[in-house]
């Protein structure tokens, strides 16, 4: 069992390795504690850090020096409401609702229309405001919104979840997995990565529980095959953890025989989550 207190900063947060607390490692360590064992003083201090770093617009920035809310807001929105506060989660979801990939904005689509391109891009989420949507922030956005939907049906949230799932299906690589979202460039297929394949598969967990069209169901089967292939050769802790979580979300348990080396706090936390008795990212 990891001693999370050992690397916890005085402000209650965690760094990727050493130095300042960042939102991402802090959120993943807290989720890892939920998945395994909560060390109450450490957990409370971590939550206090997260509460104190929420920005006035409702979002979170990745690092104290950064003055913009970004994708890490979805991670904060995945914290238990009773720990972080229901209002904070609501504000976070509202901030996320206002974010979309730049390629889905009215102004971009109008520019495209002028050039004769009539393509409608399903809405995902960007890493950083006013940039394109990518697979990891979109997957985390889906998971955060699905958590929000457990408190009652909401057409707007549901609509964004459906759009984001379509974004993921549209960005699937020819090999059945995902890279960051550039599945084709200059007419050539891109290769998928383990970590992005795992997280996208996890985010499509909810899709497989709802009625699906035949194409989406087939896509999920192909994604599972890709995830199995990646897992057989994956040497990174992050990739292995997301692949195991993704497959487990679709009913396939993959025992961890030789855990890869954890290089960062996030690696260690994800490994713990993927081996925990529950997955706190799922609703």
């Amino acid at each position: 069992m990891t001693d999370w207190r050992y690397k916890q900063n005085r402000d209650g947060g965690w760094a990727y390795n050493q130095g300042c607390s960042w939102t991402e490692p802090t959120a993943f360590v807290l989720l890892a504690q939920i998945a395994t064992k909560i060390d109450r003083p450490s957990f409370e201090a971590g939550m206090k850090f997260l509460r104190s770093t929420q920005r006035s617009d409702g979002g979170w920035s990745p690092h104290p020096e950064v003055t913009e809310s970004t994708w890490v807001t979805a991670l904060a929105a995945l914290m238990p409401e009773e720990a972080i506060g229901a209002d904070r989660v609501k504000q976070a979801l509202e901030w996320l609702e206002g974010q979309t990939g730049r390629e889905s904005t009215w102004s971009f689509e109008f520019q495209q229309w002028i050039h004769g391109i009539r393509e409608k891009n399903p809405e995902g989420w960007p890493w950083f405001p006013n940039t394109a949507a990518w697979v990891i922030p979109t997957s985390l956005g889906i998971l955060a919104f699905e958590r929000g939907l457990t408190h009652g049906e909401n057409r707007s949230l549901r609509g964004r979840v459906n759009q984001a799932r379509q974004f993921l299906f549209a960005r699937m690589c020819a090999d059945g997995g995902w890279n960051h979202g550039a599945n084709r460039a200059l007419g050539r297929d891109g290769d998928s990565y383990p970590e992005t394949t795992g997280i996208a598969l996890l985010a499509l967990h909810g899709a497989s529980r709802a009625p699906m069209n035949i194409n989406d169901a087939a896509a999920i089967e192909r994604a599972k095959q890709a995830a199995r292939r990646h897992l057989a050769v994956c040497k990174t802790a992050e990739g292995t953890a997301w692949l195991r979580m993704g497959l487990a979300a679709h009913g396939e348990v993959s025992p961890l025989q030789f855990p890869p080396v954890s290089r960062t706090t996030v690696d260690a936390a994800l490994t713990a989550i993927s081996s925990g008795f529950c997955n706190p990212l799922l609703s």
Partner: protein, 334 residues
């Protein structure tokens, strides 16, 4: 107490200290307000070294040391950051800068009296930087690699306002490791690039932009203009040196899906744009047709007479790199 470059630039960004501000703006080669201004190009031709190197053997150490030494850099007591190009896990292709070249540079700067030499990189696609470095052979080649390496994607950051930017960027968060160094050494792979034409020492600076803030890939740079962002980053770091690993480069659909291309050279110099322009000539590319070079130096300063070649002449090592469409029709040197 020694004032770090980060403190100086941070002061400039905040605009609170007139003296610091003036120093930093002169460092950046820009004036406040108005349109972007290119730093003046010296009338003395920039020295660019071209050294033959037939393979990744121990001879590379001597070649890199001699090359750095002949540029008479004042590195005694200085903090050096070596920035390789780490992109993908595949060790059998020519995607990443070969670790032998990086270690040779590391040893050369130590031997020349640098107080501190670090290796730092922030890959644009893969989050597991240390695993990537391991797969690329860095752990096996550089002793105690983890002790000298910084993952720039996850390093602590400060915000820098870019005075009179060329791109649409107004400011940029950058890692402390590179803001605090005295000399940034860009050690890229010689590669073609499907969006920029060629990726060399200047484009390599995209890896300074922290993924921990902007994500993977660093899409904020794409929206701000790829060529223009390259130039803004280049202007932010006026104290640079470049050593391009062209022993085996990449041609075709670079920077990832291309094929290895034996060029058998190392190209180095303090004027990084001049180094890139020389690499283009070696690759059979017209540097005047590479947008970021045109913006950074001006077309009039990209002719062969603008550079003083040391070592091998370009013609002796020129080997045309295969280009994909549309670059085949637009940037090939005639």
């Amino acid at each position: 107490m020694k004032t770090t470059r980060r403190q100086i630039l941070g002061t400039a960004a905040a605009g609170v200290a007139a003296a610091g501000c003036g120093y930093s703006l002169s460092l950046l080669g820009k004036e406040q307000g108005g349109t972007p201004r290119r730093p003046p190009v010296s009338r003395i031709p920039s020295r660019v070294s071209i050294v033959r190197a037939s393979g990744y053997t121990m001879d590379v150490y001597d070649a890199v040391y001699r090359t750095v030494a002949e540029h008479r850099l004042d590195v005694r007591g200085k903090r050096i950051v070596i920035k390789p190009n780490l992109v993908e896990f595949d060790p059998d292709t020519a995607i990443n800068t070969n670790p032998l070249v990086v270690h040779a540079a590391f040893e050369a700067f130590r031997k020349l009296g640098a107080a501190e030499v670090k290796i730092a990189e922030g890959p644009g696609h893969r989050r597991a930087t240390l695993d990537l470095a391991d797969a690329a052979g860095y752990f096996a080649t550089v002793p105690k690699f983890e002790d000298v390496f910084t993952d720039l994607n996850l390093d602590n950051v400060s915000k820098l306002v870019i005075p009179r930017p060329v791109s649409q960027l107004q400011s940029l968060y950058l890692p402390h490791t590179v803001l605090d160094c005295d000399l940034l050494v860009s050690v890229p792979k010689m590669k073609t690039h499907h969006w920029a034409g060629a990726t060399l020492a200047m484009k390599n600076l995209f890896g300074l932009v922290p993924g921990g803030v902007y994500g993977w890939p660093k899409n904020v740079l794409h929206w701000a203009g790829i060529a223009e962002s390259i130039v803004d980053l280049h202007y932010l770091f006026p104290r640079q040196f470049a050593i391009v690993d062209g022993i085996v480069g990449m041609e075709g659909n670079g920077p990832i899906q291309g094929t290895p291309k034996q060029a058998g050279v190392l190209v180095a110099g303090s004027d990084v744009a001049a180094v890139d322009a020389t690499c283009c000539r070696i690759m059979g590319i017209d540097p005047k047709k590479i947008e970021y070079l045109r913006i950074a130096r001006g077309e009039e300063n990209l002719g062969e007479s603008a550079f003083h070649q040391i070592g091998e002449p370009v013609n002796a090592v020129r080997t045309a790199f295969e280009l994909i469409d549309p670059w085949r029709q637009t940037i090939r040197a005639v």
